[in-house]
């Protein structure tokens, strides 16, 4: 499904520059399979929205080619691409009713009146807005408007739908409901979705694969669990989820494991990801929930001394901030289960982790 020949959407060495000097998108290569839900995730200015706009046809690639079903689309204007799109600010036509908004793409395609009506009511039904056909966008709430925008992007049955931070303007609860609905619809209809967001939770919960953008490049392209558990570089490790990082140098390396001597003192075991030899500087990265306090590890495992600075009760988890190897922003999350010790500031503990959970990344 994801090999180069069978790709549904393909970016082939695409570059984009607005001013002819700085590249906003640098050498982008990406294949998206049919029916896949792919999210472009990244901080603002990372080039993710530019990529989406190039795919929609509102920006032209400075170099390289974008292909849709194997056909180059660089020379096709946006209105002939047949790609659905949901905009961040909904972009509903304010002078038309909801039904007229949905009829717009159908009229362009010269769909008959009766067929238009059945398609519109089906699309409105999909987003649970069946009763709102006669309203104007201004009479709807933000969440309702976004549902209509979604219905309008789906009503002409495109195979590819682009979404540009569609939930950015909504409150948290509504966002979660719509996240679920969008994923469900995408899978039911079998459409391919390219979704742009800067919200990592959204990216992880919705996507089949996530492309993490930074500085005009894809830093990592992987499934959500891979991205979270096996980040390939320190940017991805920091950007996705909460993460503890410690600076050090590789002091021993042996195939699947290495030992890192931390700058703040102490040694720990880690998995070498993109460090190659003894002496390489590295950032080791460990998730807060994988750290064990007073660990029962196998013989030869390294542990570190830590001092509790802060203990926060968060209901389902405890969040403890520690001073470790000279840094005082090391966070440990422990589940609130029966008998779990509650630490207090000033307590001295030993911490450790399974070498597999700790990754030695480039600086």
């Amino acid at each position: 499904m994801l090999d180069g020949t069978g790709a549904f959407v393909e970016f082939d060495r695409v570059q984009k520059s607005y001013d002819g000097e700085t590249l906003v998108v640098k050498d982008l290569n990406l294949s998206i399979g049919k029916g896949e839900f792919l999210t472009m995730l990244g901080p603002s200015g990372s080039g993710k929205t530019t990529c989406l706009m190039m795919l929609a046809g509102f920006e032209t690639a400075t170099h390289g080619e974008i292909r849709l079903q194997g056909r180059g689309i660089n020379g096709i204007p946006p209105h002939k691409r047949g790609i659905g799109m949901v905009f961040q600010n909904y972009a509903l036509f304010p002078h038309m009713t909801v039904a007229e908004n949905l009829a717009f793409p159908l009229e362009v395609r010269k769909v008959g009146k009766a067929e238009q009506e059945s398609k519109i009511s089906r699309a409105l039904g999909m987003v649970q807005m069946g009763a709102f056909g006669g309203r104007r966008p201004a009479q709807l709430s933000g969440g309702q408007q976004q549902r209509i925008a979604l219905a309008r992007a789906l009503v002409f049955e495109p195979e590819l739908v682009l979404m540009d931070e569609p939930l950015g303007a909504l409150d948290k609860q509504l966002r979660e409901t719509l996240q679920f609905e969008i994923t469900r619809l995408a899978h039911e209809l079998g459409i391919t979705v390219v979704y742009v967001t800067h919200d990592q939770t959204e990216a992880l919960t919705m996507s089949d694969r996530v492309a993490v953008f930074d500085d005009g490049r894809i830093q990592q392209l992987a499934t959500p669990d891979e991205l979270y558990e096996r980040p390939e570089n320190s940017f991805v490790a920091q950007f996705i989820g909460e993460n503890n990082t410690l600076r050090g140098k590789v002091s021993a390396i042996d195939g699947g494991t290495c030992v890192v001597a931390l700058d703040g003192g102490g040694e720990i075991d880690a998995v070498p990801v993109n460090v190659a030899k003894v002496g390489d500087p590295t950032l080791v990265s460990i998730r807060p929930e994988r750290v064990e306090i007073d660990p029962q590890l196998g013989p030869g495992a390294h542990t570190l001394d830590a001092e509790v600075l802060e203990f926060i009760y968060m209901g389902d988890v405890f969040r403890t901030r520690l001073r470790v190897a000279g840094r005082d922003d090391f966070v440990v999350k422990t589940r609130n289960r029966a008998g779990q010790t509650r630490l207090a500031p000033g307590d001295k503990v030993r911490i450790g982790w399974l070498p597999a959970d700790c990754r030695a990344l480039n600086v």
């Binding site: 929609a56 209105h79 905009f87 972009a91 304010p94 717009f104 793409p105 362009v108 002409f156």
Partner: protein
């Protein structure tokens, strides 16, 4: 405006003085227009209030000046000229002005400011200078003394109004709507007529109204560019004032005031309706 309970004596005095000043300014602006309305019903051939009118005597009032306007061939010729020239000039102004405003609102157009200044200049340059320039130019190309010449001259004067009002409407226009239309499959022409045009229509209409009124009460340019055959209402009023001193002018003026109020009210209603549609104000 209500005075807060903690207002000092000085603030109270200023508050009422301010109201009086506002009233005086309002009077200064509106009184000359209001006076001509009763005067136009004068039964005599004078520009003044007769004792009978001041005594509210019914016989001192009549519609004779209105009858004169509708029966006198000179006035009828002028009216028909104005009614032919103003709409034609308005149509040209609206077409050119709207296109210019849309073009100039696109970010990639070079020298936008310079082009804008040139297009707006007929509004800024003293009318007599434009008129003299047009006279010499139109004489050369054989447009002087023709309907087409007057229409083109008035169109040039009206276009800046359309550009300004349409540009103002475009500032609030959400560019993602045209992108959405393109994404849904509409070509540029359909996008313009189905999405952009309906939303900027209030600006187009009020610009068109200004252009219409400019042409309808313009006297300087038409004196230069036109000839006796293109005598418009303002021209006839100008002649009437100089040569005949007939109160028919007052009747015409009253009719024009009424028409202007009607037009402005129409535009205001349209504007509110469109704002409601765009969700800018509650239904």
């Amino acid at each position: 405006m209500v005075l807060p309970p903690y207002a000092t004596l000085g603030q109270r005095i200023w508050h009422y003085t301010f109201l009086v000043i506002c009233g005086l300014i309002f009077f200064f602006l509106i009184a000359p227009i209001l006076t001509i309305i009763p005067l136009s019903f004068n039964a005599e051939n004078f520009f003044t209030f007769t004792p009978g009118m001041l005594a509210l005597d019914g016989d001192a009032y009549s519609l004779r000046h209105y009858r004169d306007f509708f029966q006198n061939p000179d006035w009828q010729q002028a009216l028909s000229n104005s009614v032919r020239i103003a709409p034609a000039a308005t149509l040209i102004s609206v077409g050119l002005g709207t296109l210019a405003a849309i073009g100039l609102s696109q970010g990639h157009v070079p020298f936008r400011r310079a082009i804008m200044v040139v297009l707006i200049s007929p509004m800024i340059v003293p009318l007599i200078i434009s008129a003299a320039g047009m006279y010499f130019f139109y004489s050369r190309v054989g447009l002087q003394g023709s309907y087409l010449g007057v229409v083109l001259a008035h169109a040039a004067l009206g276009t800046p109004f359309v550009i300004i009002t349409v540009t103002a409407t475009l500032v609030g226009f959400d560019r993602s709507l045209t992108r959405a239309a393109a994404n849904l499959g509409a070509g540029p022409v359909r996008t313009f007529f189905k999405v952009q045009m309906p939303l900027i229509l209030p600006g187009v209409i009020s610009g068109g109204l200004f252009a219409f009124i400019t042409s309808f009460d313009e006297v300087v340019v038409v004196l230069f560019v036109g000839s006796a055959g293109q005598k418009t209402l303002p021209w006839q009023m100008f002649i009437g004032l100089r040569e005949q001193i007939s109160p028919t002018i007052l009747a015409v003026a009253t009719i024009l005031v009424a028409v202007s109020i009607l037009l402005l009210a129409t535009v205001e209603i349209l504007r509110r309706r469109s704002e409601r549609l765009r969700g800018l104000s509650p239904a």
